[in-house]
Symmetry: C2
Subunit: 153 residues, 2 copies
Amino acid sequence: MSVPAEEIERRVQALSAGIQDAGLRLTHQRLEIVREVAGSKTHPDVETLYRGVRKRMPTVSLDTVYRTLSVLTERGLIERVTATAGPARYDGNPFPHHHFVCTRCGLVRDIDDANTDAIPPTKQTDSLGEVESIQIQYRGVCAACRQAATSSN
Amino acid sequence: MSVPAEEIERRVQALSAGIQDAGLRLTHQRLEIVREVAGSKTHPDVETLYRGVRKRMPTVSLDTVYRTLSVLTERGLIERVTATAGPARYDGNPFPHHHFVCTRCGLVRDIDDANTDAIPPTKQTDSLGEVESIQIQYRGVCAACRQAATSSN
DNA sequence: GTTACTGCAAACTTTTTGCACGACA
DNA sequence: TGTCGTGCAAAAAGTTTGCAGTAAC
């Protein structure tokens, strides 16, 4: 149920290229952090990514994880997940997609690009600015939380 | 260009009722905080709301603003804005709506309920859980940022 | 009259920053 | 070889919590 190896590879390629195209250095640390975030489907927070990277690179520092994620986000290569409260979480999938969000436990999972052509810009959006992309949040209760609620009733 | 008085009133009513229906006390502090958040269309952060409330109630504390916003959010009466990084921002509109988000400056504005029937749950969402609501983020560049970019080119 | 809420202060968590050393292009 | 990036440490920012007094119901 993890991200398929070839998909991880595709993401790592896109992110690595993005770093180098921006004239930035692709250091060992950055590559490992890219691998970690690209290989996760849970949209982890910085601390979790840090622990994951340290398994392969024990000397990496938390600051570097913060800084690398900032760099990637500033360049638009990855996104901060804007769906949950608490510590920042990151989305290592650099291709367009949407999110399912569990309102109970904060689980976030990617949803492939839906038919966003069905959602045209409106008069309201037109008066505010130019819409460049549309992201949908499907909010609800995940299977695990649903089961937990059922069995305790 | 602010929220119309009757709309503010409608929101304050809904939020006040929500507090009391939950068996909580509608204190002066809570009412002023509700007024502040319901009257703003900018989705302000806690510090900004605090300053606004203090104009009318100089003795209110920042903690109480934090606590009241937490209470309102936990009860599902208002929502934390899940669109921007940085300090938490709150959306005092308790009725269904969507958001336009400027990716440059972080401006967030409400968009009236679009035709979300055009976005049915998918096989993917079905396998993750039950979708209860759909929120659309229209992302782009707001008029002010667009103008700033144009005039500096 | 109870009990929940508030203000104050302190603590805690998360994130950012300055600096000197080390490594990438 | 020059410059960008890293690790360390300290600081800053944002948020939460314990406690005693106060106010809502």
